[in-house]
């Protein structure tokens, strides 16, 4: 009887130790935010900009391309808000054009991820239509930026910087085309 009690206590203790030992070490509650420095009016949606995101990037996690045919979605490194919403807000914030109110922008972001070799890739396609649904401008952009440091913070910063650079490039290209028309 005494031996049985000892055995029971020992078994429960071992099981408790095992379960505790196998627990996750730490959980990261940080969430990545791309639009912390964006003016508030940029958050208001006037409906003229439609941004779609590649489905593989829409699961809320920071994505890293591990090979030519595989992507890795982080479990603990996630976006604070929907990525397409943040990218659209950034676009609204950085867009410079005289006649933006009469134009409709269709943007498709196909890449917004890191790579296994330390780069931040951004690729997108832009189409601009006037109110009569006539295509005014269309262009694809793709750019890679090397990570200066290890870690997700560096990756997200690089992605953001890369994306903003593309917007600025678009601004230049689009306004030039409009001017030359």
């Amino acid at each position: 009887m005494f031996f049985k009690k000892i055995l029971t206590i020992a078994t429960v203790s071992v099981m408790a130790i095992l379960i505790n030992a196998c627990q996750n070490s730490s959980i990261d509650y940080n969430r990545y935010f791309l639009v912390a420095d964006v003016k508030s009016s940029s958050f208001m949606d006037n409906g003229s900009i439609k941004l779609k995101l590649n489905e593989a990037l829409s699961n809320g996690a920071v994505v890293i391309q591990m090979s030519d045919v595989s992507l890795y979605s982080a479990t603990n490194h996630r976006w604070a808000d929907k990525l397409d919403s943040q990218l659209k807000t950034l676009w609204v914030d950085r867009l410079i054009c005289d006649n933006c109110k009469n134009l409709n922008f269709n943007i498709y972001v196909s890449e917004f991820n890191g790579t296994y070799d330390g780069y931040a890739n951004v690729a997108l396609a832009v189409q601009v239509y006037d109110k009569k649904q006539k295509l005014v401008f269309s262009h694809d952009y793709k750019q890679s930026l090397a990570l200066e440091q290890d870690g997700y913070n560096a990756l997200v910063s690089a992605l953001k910087a890369n994306y903003i650079e593309i917007i600025d490039t678009f601004n230049t290209d689009f306004n030039l085309k409009v001017k030359n028309k």
């Binding site: 379960i19 196998c22 627990q23 996750n24 070490s25 699961n59 809320g60 996690a61 890293i64 591990m66 890795y72 979605s73 982080a74 479990t75 603990n76 490194h77 996630r78 929907k82 890191g114 296994y116 070799d117 330390g118 780069y119 090397a146 990570l147 200066e148 440091q149 290890d150 870690g151 997700y152 560096a154 990756l155």
Partner: protein, 527 residues
């Protein structure tokens, strides 16, 4: 000179070496005594089938207490049965009486009764039931099935005979108003008489329920009957459906004399046929009806001034089929059994009415067009009441009303219906309907203008209300915004749950042990 001489003394102590053999001797003595003298008697039990019996393992029990063990299983000299040699425990000699019963307890399934489930794990064992005979015995014959009745239960045995086809076996219950009061002890088929003989046991105090009005019937299965009255379905309890039983009842307190055990009792196929046989105890009479009245069958009711006073208990009531070939009328046997009326005084009244030709049976008019299965007893002089015979097979007869006049009346009604000029009526009706239609059109046109204005207002109101409702779901409405917010939150929640669910899907034990894998850490570019 001094002589050195050894002085020897005999030791008086016993050597310690002898302890071991002494202990061995004691132990041997104990074992021999335990094995040989500390046992009960050795008995033999003959059994037809030793299935589940193992030498050295199968126990013999009484009231769940082990009283012996099977030591050997062998065949008898003629190879007709198995002989079990059982070593009884000490102190069990008084149980070994000539009428002590032994049987094998194993799992048995019968209907919804399942017994011996414990033997599925423990294995079969032999159950013992001590007898009453003081004669000592060491040789027994085992029962093939457990005894139906418990020991020392008082009661009465009855012999029954059954000519039907429903199956009843030993052990089936005997029921009184659905309550089990006994069992079938044995059943055998009598080839000579083409019937089944049952012996039943009814335990005390229920044996007192048996009177000479008691009738037995088989209650099992589902009874269907389809007649002019309709479809009747009678079912028994689930237990009876699976197992079968014999039921009995006295139906009422009329004729409650003591039961006679000389002749076997008849078991009827159904409660209805048992009841009809029981009704034969009541004052019975014969009446002759037309063969055309097929609705009058056994069980048809007889009413007197609206009260149910009798039942047809036999139709046709003949002792030979030859009678049917030569007769124009069908004899039926009727029993009057009104519960609310003193039977004897009612019988006196009927006898008196028959003598004065004032009693008559007729088909109940309300059943003429439907089932035609009820009779009315009338006590007025009617020229249509005809008495075929005064007596028939020892029974007084009651006259039966000639139905021709009523049938003629019906035919007259049918003819009158036939004679109605339905074509003329239908043409007139058609014309009337056309006029109504024209009138309705005129009315509609005159009131159209009024109706239109009213209709438009109503439609306008309806559309306005619809518009208001739709606006509340507009893109800029509050409801839309709130719905949008909720959907976004749900979306976010699902996104957050995604990795966890993925992990569980790929590695279910991560629910308990957690997810060990860390995220891949991005590296800076190698330039």
């Amino acid at each position: 000179m001094i002589e050195n001489k050894a002085i020897t003394k005999k030791s008086k102590k016993i050597s310690i070496v002898w302890v071991i053999p002494f202990i061995t001797l004691i132990i041997s003595a104990i074992l021999i005594w335990n094995n040989s003298f500390n046992k009960g008697a050795q008995i033999t039990v003959s059994i037809i089938d030793a299935d589940g019996i193992e030498a050295g393992k199968t126990l013999v029990k009484l009231h769940s207490v082990t009283i012996g063990k099977v030591t050997q299983v062998s065949l008898d000299e003629n190879f007709n049965s198995a002989i079990l040699t059982i070593q009884m425990n000490k102190g069990t000699d008084s149980l070994l009486r000539s009428d002590t019963l032994f049987w094998v307890v194993k799992t048995r399934v019968r209907g919804i009764d399942i017994s011996g489930l414990d033997t599925l794990l423990s294995g079969a064992y032999i159950q013992c039931e001590v007898g009453n005979d003081p004669t000592y015995s060491r040789s027994f014959k085992a029962l093939e099935t457990p005894p139906v009745t418990k020991p020392n239960v008082q009661g009465i045995n009855l012999n029954l005979q059954y000519r039907g086809t429903k199956t009843l076996v030993t052990g089936d219950p005997v029921l009184y108003k659905g309550f089990s009061v006994g069992n079938i002890l044995s059943s055998e088929f009598d080839i000579d008489n083409n019937l089944v003989k049952h012996t039943i046991f009814i335990q005390d105090p229920y044996a007192k329920l048996l009177t000479n009005s008691t009738r037995f019937w088989v209650s099992s299965g589902i009874d269907f009957s389809l007649n002019t009255s309709g479809l009747t379905v009678e079912t028994e309890s689930l237990n009876n459906l699976l197992q079968g039983s014999i039921s009995f009842d006295n139906f009422s307190s009329y004729s409650s004399g003591s039961i006679s055990l000389e002749k076997p009792f008849t078991v009827f196929d159904s409660k209805k046929s048992a009841y009809l046989d029981y009704l034969s105890l009541y004052p019975s009479y014969v009446s002759f009806i037309n063969y055309d009245f097929k609705g009058i069958v056994e069980g048809s009711k007889i009413y007197y001034k609206g009260l149910h006073v009798g039942t047809v208990i036999k139709s046709p009531f003949i002792n030979s089929f030859d009678y049917v070939l030569t007769s124009k009328l069908k004899p039926i046997l009727i029993a009057f059994h009104a519960d609310d009326v003193s039977i004897d005084s009612f019988k006196q009244y009927i006898d008196k009415s028959i003598k004065s030709n004032k009693l008559c049976l007729e088909i109940d008019s309300s059943s003429l067009l439907s089932s035609n299965d009820q009779l009315n007893l009338i006590d007025i002089k009617n020229k249509n009441c005809k008495l075929a015979k005064r007596n028939y097979l020892g029974y007084s007869t009651i006259a039966f009303s000639d139905m021709n006049q009523d049938i003629q009346g019906l035919n007259t009604i049918v003819a009158k219906i036939d004679a109605i000029d339905t074509k003329g009526i239908s043409d007139e009706l058609k014309q009337t309907l056309n006029n109504i239609s024209l009138l309705a059109n005129n009315l509609a046109q005159n009131s159209k203008a009024i109706n239109n204005a009213d209709l438009i207002n109503k439609m306008a109101n309806a559309v306005e209300r619809l518009d208001t409702t739709l606006q509340s779901f507009d893109k800029n409405s509050q409801i839309y915004d709130e719905l949008n917010i909720v959907l976004q939150r749900v979306n976010k929640l699902l996104n957050d749950l995604g990795p966890g669910l993925n992990a569980i899907g790929q590695n279910p034990n991560s629910i308990i042990f957690g997810n060990k894998t860390e995220d891949y850490e991005p590296k800076k570019a190698i330039k």
